[in-house]
């Protein structure tokens, strides 16, 4: 190749790289713009207590106002409640499912469970929601927190199961076999060998399930009652008469909380991964 050709391919290489980088940057800006906007609008004065598209001035008043709004606070508490129970349930059930997908003795059962997990993710939320609504109206079970939790858990279970499954696939089966050879019962192996290695995945899956449950709107909209109204449902309802700035304040606070939880999950995942490797190789 001549020097000139080198220069030409180099230039093309550079142009591709630059345009890809530009596209990536644009995507990140696009994705973050509304989040930044929500933060900005939570400090916006607005007009006559209503949020406006144009910025009218800076104020901190909406944060205490959001805290003092009882309906809003009640909806956040009930969101936390629902998210807590649904993530707890889905961690237990989802971990069992993730484990069974990889280690169940029967190949057919493994395939069936894997298929079921994917179906859980695939069925549109609105379909699950209306189906549950039907179930409860036929069986005449009145809607409360528990019924809402049952509506949200299927998806949360699938999320936990997939994370746990991914971790299970990286585990060395021979360690479990060795434990069995040395006289450990299956339950003991599960508790002392498998579970400690799964902890990071279970924790990460749990946090994801929590976030998803907290944020769930579609299922909650169908299964909520005046007594049990989660934050997303409250926000959705508040859109009818224009969102107030308190909503933005509440949501910005929740967003920061979510980011904190996710950061915690990332740290947990890393921490829990390292010491175990260290323990195995003394």
């Amino acid at each position: 190749m001549t020097a000139r050709e080198y220069a030409r391919t180099g230039w093309k290489e550079y142009a591709t790289h630059a345009s890809l980088r530009l596209w990536y940057a644009a995507a990140v800006v696009f994705l973050f713009a509304p989040i930044v906007a929500a933060l900005v609008y939570s400090f916006n004065l607005g007009v006559l207590g209503n949020e406006t598209a144009t910025l009218t001035g800076w104020t901190l008043q909406w944060y205490p106002a959001a805290w003092n709004d009882l309906t809003l606070r009640h909806s956040i508490v009930s969101s936390l409640d629902v998210a807590f129970w649904s993530s707890l349930l889905s961690v237990v059930i989802g971990s069992a499912l993730g484990y069974a997908i990889v280690r169940h003795p029967s190949g057919r059962v493994r395939h069936l469970l894997a298929a079921l997990t994917y179906i859980l993710l695939i069925v549109p939320e609105s379909v699950i929601a209306v189906s549950l609504l039907l179930l409860y109206s036929v069986t005449r079970i009145s809607l409360d927190t528990a019924t809402l939790v049952t509506g949200i858990t299927p998806m949360a279970i699938a999320v936990v199961a997939l994370v746990v499954r991914a971790r299970m696939l990286t585990l060395d089966r021979r360690v479990e076999d060795a434990a069995a050879d040395l006289g450990s019962t299956r339950l003991k192996t599960l508790w002392f060998i498998v579970l400690p290695q799964l902890t990071p995945a279970v924790a990460a899956g749990g946090v994801m399930a929590y976030t998803f449950s907290f944020d769930n709107l579609v299922v909650s909209a169908f299964l909520s009652t005046p007594q049990v109204t989660t934050l997303p449902v409250y926000l959705y309802g508040s859109l009818q008469y224009g969102p107030s700035p308190t909503v933005y304040a509440a949501v910005s606070a929740v967003f920061m909380f979510t980011m904190l939880m996710l950061g915690l999950a990332a740290v947990l995942y890393r921490l829990a991964r390292r010491p175990f490797a260290a323990r195995i190789t003394p």
Binding site: K12, T16, L20, R21, Y24, F30, L31, F32, A33, P34, I35, A37, A38, Y41, E51, A53, T54, L89, I93, A96, L97, A100, L113, L116, I122, V123, P124, S126, V127, I128, V130, S131, L132, L133, L134, L135, S137, V138, T150, G151, T153, I157, M208, D215, L217, V218, A221, F222, L231, L235, Y236, L239, P243, V247, Y248, V251, F255, T258, M259, L262
Partner: protein, 269 residues
């Protein structure tokens, strides 16, 4: 144990829906029967048009999403080294914040006198007030916005897995960058594309928040139509039939995608 839980709270309700879809509607209830009337109603006239529109809409929005996601995934997989984890995190993090809030903010940004209008005017790309809200374009933007992260991730995973040596070999043998992409990269990332389509198009079929928030009442989609049958008209039978139709559409998409990537499942095992 997990199977039991799912059977009670997932499969049983779905079964109810299927049964109801064949029933005869009474006000606020359904009489068990075996009739196809609900399907006839759901497939004809206004509802049929809504169903077709929803499918066309989900397909094109999903394609748009994929087109936007591919360069992003390609960039992160190929052109980043040290900051790779950060690069992918930046794409995924927004997905974990409240979807509804992000849409509300998007609504604010795109509204008349909003930030986007100001920006476009400043760049001389647009003059005067911006009336994009309550149009189909706004719903498109909202859909792409909402589902971009989950389209990027599977694409990133497959592009990342292609050995660099393969690309270099193709280039050494005289293929252009485009030829390499077309004949080496693209065939190898097929499963990722299928997953991305699945993860974006299927939820779009049932989506009811984006069209309601950004599209106004015009351009009603299937998700809204179903919820209206349940929560307003109380016609559970028709609503069920429409829900089952969405499920059938989902099943067809899954079957087609599974066929496209069939060769890969065998290699993967």
């Amino acid at each position: 144990m997990p199977a039991l839980w799912l059977a009670v709270f997932f499969l049983a309700p779905l079964a109810f829906t299927v049964v109801f879809s064949f029933g005869r509607p009474t006000f606020g209830g359904v009489v068990p029967d075996f009739t196809l009337d609900n399907y006839a109603a759901a497939l004809s006239g206004f509802y049929g048009a809504t169903f077709l529109r929803t499918i066309a809409f989900a397909a094109s929005a999903s394609a748009l999403c994929l087109g936007a996601a591919l360069p992003v995934a390609y960039f992160v997989a190929r052109h980043t080294r040290r900051h790779r984890a950060l690069a992918i995190a930046l794409i995924v993090v927004p997905y974990f914040s409240s979807f509804l809030i992000r849409l509300m903010s998007l609504h604010m940004l795109m509204s008349r006198d909003g930030a986007v209008q100001g920006m476009l005017n400043a760049l001389h790309l647009h003059h005067g007030p911006l009336d994009v809200l309550d149009t189909r374009t706004a719903v498109f933007i909202g859909m792409v916005y909402g589902y971009l992260p989950i389209a990027v991730v599977p694409l990133f995973v497959v592009i990342d897995r292609i050995p660099r040596a393969l690309i270099e070999a193709s280039r050494d043998l005289g293929a252009s960058r485009w030829q390499t992409f077309r004949f080496i990269t693209l065939p190898m990332i097929r499963p990722g594309i299928a997953t991305a389509i699945l993860l974006t198009m299927v939820p779009m079929l049932g989506e009811l928040v984006v069209p309601r928030l950004l599209g106004g009442d015009r351009g009603m989609l299937m998700g809204q139509a179903i919820s209206a049958q349940y929560l307003q008209s109380q016609n559970y039978a028709l609503g069920s039939a429409m829900a089952v139709l969405v499920l059938v559409a989902v099943a067809i998409i899954v079957a087609v995608l599974a066929r496209i990537t069939r060769g890969f499942a065998e290699v993967g095992r």
